[in-house]
């Protein structure tokens, strides 16, 4: 197990290295940073001085080397737009995104598991079919459009919920959170629901598919033959076995929720990392773009690793040494 984790971490370093190279070449080398960094009215001499000052006259590999050296020291450059270190800017926005993503994931799990189980146990019933049709709808609804419609109904017409922003925050263990105040929850509810819809459908479908397959298995027949109660067969034998893929997906999807938060945050003007990256792309704030990408890649690598480890704990049949990374 330990050897596996160490090997995976080493692999992660390689992935991170390759990603940093791609991101660097992508963001820095394509397009000319000089056009963006330097006042277009500057004369030739000023421009050349600035190019030298920024190290842009050096060959690309040398520029990358310098960038890497600084990145390892935790310096990912300063934001042009905010004039603060890019890393600090992103870390400041991270709690808001994590709060939103966690809330969305909770909604999806709490609603999705029971609904999926129901649809799996009674696939031919009206409720089962309704749940499945609903989940197709949930898959198909474009997140951003649902967000707009939520705003229209609940903010513009009914006036129940605020249309944008995050409520007042309180520090819990040094992390600012907003779900502790009523106003904070009012701000959180709509974006979190919006973000949860897609994952909710996914969990419903996964649970249903897993349940339907599990019900055909011999161990379920055996459990029934033993005369176990329906609740025990479903709650223990079926649920335990379908949880394996679901836990994997929930873990992996947490990363994708963070990525999709980009859309929800933009719609609801939620002050998280996602809105920051869109704003940064719009004003070509390159250090922030690079820093965001590196941070999110790191985040994903860790999420994937954690999911694999959790997976092996749930299912002893999975031998980690065989898993690919």
């Amino acid at each position: 197990m330990l050897a596996y984790v160490i090997r995976r971490l080493l692999q992660s370093v390689v992935v991170l290295f390759v990603m940093s190279l791609l991101v660097f070449v992508g963001v820095y080398a394509i397009g000319n940073p000089v056009d963006i960094l330097i006042n277009p009215n500057a004369d030739q001499e000023d421009i050349e001085r600035a190019i030298r000052g920024l190290g842009l006259d050096k060959p690309l590999w040398e520029q990358y080397f310098v960038f890497l050296q600084r990145a390892l020291a935790g310096d990912l450059g300063r934001s042009f737009a905010y004039n603060v270190p890019a890393l600090q800017l992103i870390l400041e926005r991270m709690p808001a995104t994590l709060e939103l993503a966690t809330a969305a994931m909770l909604i999806a799990i709490v609603l999705g598991l029971p609904l999926g189980l129901w649809a799996g146990l009674k696939p031919e019933s009206f409720a089962g079919k309704a749940i499945m049709t609903g989940s197709i709808l949930g898959f198909s609804l474009p997140t951003f459009w649902v967000g707009l419609m939520l705003i229209m109904v609940f903010s513009v017409y009914l006036g129940w919920l605020p249309s944008n922003g995050r409520g007042p925050t309180t520090d819990v263990l040094g992390v600012p959170v907003s779900f502790l105040s009523w106003d904070g929850i009012r701000h959180l509810v709509m974006p979190a629901t919006n973000l949860a819809l897609f994952k909710l459908s996914l969990i419903i479908r996964l649970t249903r598919a897993g349940t339907r397959e599990a019900l055909l298995q011999d161990y379920v027949k055996f459990a029934r033959a033993k005369g176990l109660s329906n609740a025990r067969v479903v709650g223990v034998h079926v649920l335990k076995n379908i949880l394996i893929p679901i836990v994997t997906v929930i873990g992996l999807e947490f990363g994708s929720v963070i990525a999709f938060a980009i859309v929800t945050e933009t719609v609801f003007a939620w002050p998280g990392m996602g809105k920051l990256i869109i704003d940064s792309i719009n004003v070509l704030d390159r250090p922030v773009i690079v820093a965001y990408l590196l941070i999110i890649v790191t985040l994903f690598i860790f999420i994937n690793l954690a999911v694999d480890v959790a997976y092996s704990m749930l299912d002893p049949r999975v031998r980690l040494a065989d898993a690919k990374g």
Binding site: F139, F144, M149, M152, T248, A259, F260, N282
Partner: protein, 322 residues
Amino acid sequence: MNPPAESPAEGATEVVLAAAAAPGVAAPTAAEETPFRRIAADFAASRIALCGLGLFALIVLCALLAPLISPQNPYDLAQLDVLDGRLEPGTRSGDGKRVFWLGTDDQGRDMLSAIFYGLRISIGVGVSATLCALALGLSLGLAAAFFGGRVDALIMRVVDIQLSFPAILIALILLAVLGQGVDKIIVALVAVQWAYYARTVRSAALVERSKEYIEAARCLALPGARIVFRHLLPNCLPPLIVVATVQVAAAIALEATLSFLGLGLPITEPSLGLLIANGFTYMLSGKYWISFFPGVALLATIVSINLVGDQLRDVLNPRLQR
């Protein structure tokens, strides 16, 4: 939207999106049945899937015939009157000549016509991106399965890594670097989607490869290319068809999302996503129709494709066959 990233641990998400990717034993068919007829009959068994197919056909027809059936050419400035701007659905135009059934946007553009034209762009981008991604993923997946060894390891490692990142993130990165444009968004969508096809076709091909009919073909000393394209490929198609159907919807949704974020298509190519983004500004003042109707059109497109894909998955998945 996109299917979830595949975990290194096998099979978790395949349950959802490509249950059919569990490649299978072709079901024994009665002598007079052709596989196509059987699939068509199975497909038609679900009324809701038929509705989806009908709706999608209607939408495609609207998109194809947009110039003929639109009340106006929404991008011919001579036909627009700013005085007709932001009219509610069902209002008569200023000169009394026509009725704007779905209202107008800020430029006095008939929303119904704008939606027909938007559908053209959205579906065009979605379908062409899917076809390109299919071609790329199919070749790489087949290559991985056929050559095995290092080629396989390399291709599948790239697939693994790519699928561990959400599609929207990869597309976002690419578009942040490439900039706006129809060609660029297609490149981004292809880059996002090829991996799904590669994985699906490889896993199907690996199973098929070890079957007796391939062995028989080998024994007949058929050339490799013939085995791959005439014997292996057709048998890998069912799961691919399912994935491709679902991915068209995903591509359309992703394009709309990216365009909404201002990263996808330029303003000169007004897809549904851009129409919705345009209406966002006016929505807070209660003018819902500028965003609402393009969104409904987008939703109808995606839902109809997903309904078809869903039924195809059930029909083509031998494990669920009764």
